[in-house]
């Protein structure tokens, strides 16, 4: 049994964890629910020995523990399945599992056979179906995650912490993971399941603890409704669905024909893609991460040189133009990886607001940045987009994910747009901000702009889409109406061609 007693962790003047009590029984799935920044990760990093608590203690079977680092935590029987896998891509499964505590023959030679046996034994025990000799980079994400679980179990983990494990999985893979978690539970492993997805929590949890602002604000039973849980998480009533009227599609908008993109290794990552988005409608692109959605959007934005086919906006060809020309043609873009592609973390809000307009008016005159103009512009946008920050001069990197995304959104929506592309617009942001971002996207559509939303979250697809395009291995597996069932979408995301009636728009190209 794992018990956390009065865990408090401060960073400077900020209290990330405030007197947290938590008990995880063997054979129990304890869900830790909370928005990004609620302090879940800090708490788990303390448990895993990466941080030291300022106050409080960790008890395992009633014995107080002192962890100097993850090594101690692992020895004590705490395993962690990280959100971002800690695997060496060019190693085999067995090599990854043995890494850090390699069994050796006398003389220091690696005992690969023992490592393989260990993987096979654990894999069979829980029905993972993992080949010990497969290379990690060849495995699908869902299997890689199982390797992480095997890694933890191979060190006799009594308590397993899953940090946002479903973020990278298809709906089917998520179901399989849930089955695995149930099996682990049946074998007596205690599980801490960190997530912000309400549906999964209700499906699998035995106990639910909700965290907000570094504190446990309540316990809930798995029978609680989604809106009850959301209210606990955010601390106020939340609208989980976006109010939107029927679309009023207008003129041509974006037309993508026979678009093919090859990556650096010569693989076709986008393969003969055709679709159309008219002004005033939202086309949602669904699919499991890594099926060509990112490359498709980058090709439209002029960020991929090896692109063939045609991309027209209001009849004007975009393919082959520079990013600058495409932005000037009236395209707004929210990239999926905010930290890498959308903002400069060390730059102030002001500097980030003018990032895409550093030449000429309104922000630059005679080669000099017009500070007062940028300042005023930033303050206005901060007010309009409800950006919570001390002021326009602080670095954007200090803001929460939700506030950062609002800045990016404000920048992209402040130009005259004909096409708006939002890739994973709500990834890593809190529930309150999700609501806001969704509303702004719908409002942009209602202003007559063609909108493309890329998301791996079916909830988001369902909330925003007027039509849904599903991608699988770089191809369009189908374009279906917004009311298509989750099960059908899940099958399409796994590569099964839909049986539902095809959307009339797609027929123009076939």
């Amino acid at each position: 049994m794992l018990e956390l007693r009065g865990i408090t962790k401060r960073f400077g003047t900020v209290t990330a964890n405030d007197g947290i009590d938590l008990i995880v029984e063997p054979g129990q799935i304890h869900c830790l629910l909370g928005e990004n920044g609620a302090g879940k990760s800090t708490l788990m990093n303390i448990l895993y020995g990466l941080y030291h608590a300022d106050e409080g203690e960790i008890l395992l079977d009633g014995v107080s523990q002192k962890f100097a680092g993850p090594g101690d935590a692992m020895k004590a029987g705490i395993g962690m399945v990280h959100q971002h896998f800690m695997l060496v891509p060019v190693f085999t499964v067995a090599q990854n599992v043995m890494l850090g505590h390699e069994p050796t023959h006398p003389g220091g030679r690696l005992d690969m056979a023992a490592a393989r046996d260990l993987v096979r034994r654990i894999s069979n025990q829980f029905g993972f179906g993992v080949d010990p000799d497969a290379l990690i980079e060849d495995l699908p994400v869902g299997i890689q995650q199982r390797v992480e679980i095997i890694k933890a179990l191979s060190r006799d983990a009594q308590v397993l912490v899953f940090d946002e494990p479903t973020a990278v999985l298809t709906p089917q893979e998520t179901d399989e993971l849930i089955a695995i978690m149930r099996r682990l539970k049946a074998e007596g492993t205690g599980i801490v399941f960190i997530t912000h997805k309400l549906r999964e929590v209700r499906e699998v949890a035995d106990t639910i603890s909700v965290m907000r602002h570094g504190q446990i604000v309540g316990q809930a039973s798995p029978t609680a409704s989604s809106s009850e849980l959301a209210n606990l998480m955010v601390g106020r009533p939340v609208e989980l669905t976006v109010k939107k009227n029927a679309p009023a599609p207008g003129d041509a908008g974006l037309q993508v024909s026979a678009l093919t993109v090859t990556d650096e290794r010569g693989h076709r990552v986008v393969d003969d893609v055709n679709f159309q988005v008219r002004g005033g409608e939202i086309l949602a692109i669904a699919g499991v991460q890594g099926n060509g959605q990112s490359e498709l959007m980058e090709a439209i934005m002029g960020l991929r040189s090896a692109s063939h086919g045609s991309v027209t906006l209001d009849g004007k060809e975009l393919l082959g133009s520079s990013v600058r020309q495409i932005l000037d043609a009236g395209v707004g873009y929210v990239p999926e990886d905010r930290h890498v592609d959308a903002m400069v973390a060390e730059f102030s809000l002001m500097e980030n607001m003018m990032l895409d307009r550093s030449v000429g008016l309104p922000f630059v005159k005679y080669g000099t940045v017009r500070q007062p103009v940028v300042d005023q512009f930033t303050r206005e946008r901060m007010a309009e987009f409800d950006v919570r920050a001390v002021g326009p001069h602080i670095p954007i990197g200090r803001l929460s994910g939700g506030n950062q995304q609002k800045v990016v959104l404000a920048r992209e929506l402040s130009r005259d747009l004909r096409l708006f592309i939002a890739a994973q617009p709500t990834r890593g942001i809190d529930v309150g901000s999700i609501e806001f971002v969704h509303q702004r996207i719908v409002r942009t559509r209602d202003a007559g702009v063609a909108v493309v939303v890329v998301s791996t979250e079916l909830d988001e697809i369902a909330a925003l889409a007027d039509r849904i395009l599903v991608m699988y291995q770089g191809r369009v597996i189908g374009i279906v109406p917004a009311n298509t069932s989750r099960e059908d979408l899940g099958l399409m995301m796994a590569g099964v061609t839909p049986t539902t009636k095809e959307d009339p728009h797609v027929q123009q190209f076939n």
């Binding site: 570094g214 990013v323 080669g367 919570r388």
Partner: protein, 428 residues
Amino acid sequence: MSSNLTSDTTRSASTEQQAPTNSPSQPQAKTTPGKWRTVLREISNGNTIINIFSVIIALAAGAILIGLTDEEVRESFGYFFARPTDALRAFWDAVAGAYSALFQGAIYNFGRPGFLNGIKPLTDTLTYATPLITAGLGVGLAFRSGLFNIGGRGQMLIAAGCAGWIGFGIQLPWGIHMIVAVVAGIAGGALWGGLAGLLKARSGAHEVITTIMLNYVAFYLLSYLLRTPLLQAPGQSNSKSAPTAETAVLPSLLGERYTLHFGFILAILATIGAAWLISRSSLGFRFRAVGENPHAARVAGINVGKTYVMAMLVSGGLLGLAGSFQVLGTTTSGFTPGIDAGIGFDAITVALLGRSRPWGIFAAGLLFGAFKSGGFAMQAAQGIPADIVVVIQALIVLLIAAPPLVRAIFRLPHDGSKLTDSKKVATA
């Protein structure tokens, strides 16, 4: 109901409802320390204090080295336990003598009669600092653009060649000659730097490799040209050029008695210009954006390759200006392939110490100019190798590169960046 109205009302409703969630952050604001404590905290967290302490530690380490090299100190430490006072006194004498010689060689020489003679070392310091500051600005500007310009030497050599050739090869009236020579130097350096930028933009060749290789190309090119009639002085058998024409020599600022020349004014102007470029201009904005995050810059429509070329042009141009100072101000009697005097590399150190900020580089350049000026005086007066000064300079940079070490030695509060990282986590 129109859709606009719907989203408007939900939005305003949501902002009202969101207001309470903001309240937990307000107690935090209240508990933040007072203004002075914040300022103090920022200073002690900040980089300036680390730099100052680094200099102090390096000087202390230098003191030990001075003691070790001193004959008398070593002798007296041989019977340390018999008479420790001897050893300590000898040590103190050696270090105090060395550092006072360093000071007298760099700032003010009390040994000379009259203020005008005594102050000469300070003007020497400024003379040494002039090319260091200018070259440091060039390297620092490249740093801000995410580029490691290790090619200062090559850029300075090409610039010296260009400025020098104009300086003795053609005849122009006073003033104009000087301006043309300086501009030619800047252009030569910019060309050499821009070449590395172009290679990076076009082929992705890493600028560290290309600039280092271009150093060799420049060195041997200049060596060769100094053996051809183009640059070699008539009647010379060595690789040496003719002296710079009187009309092209940068005028003395304080009269013939001092070495300080007009280049120092240009260095100040270059610092002002670089400060404007980096923090106020749109070009500098793109430099910094590309330097901090080239991915985001590219997505925002900034031409990253072109920005690299521009940054290397400007960086090379500043190093070229430093190269022109060498032939038009410091060594006007004709130059050799060693005219760069290692300044292209010292500039990297200066830029690091100045944290790539123009006025920081200015201060760092002054400090290193003082070390250079004082080092020679120290060697002459005390017989302590001037190389010790180079060791001290190296230690300063080493310590700046390892701030946790300095913090540990002086028990400074923890790194500010960790604090902001945790804030990111905690204040979502």
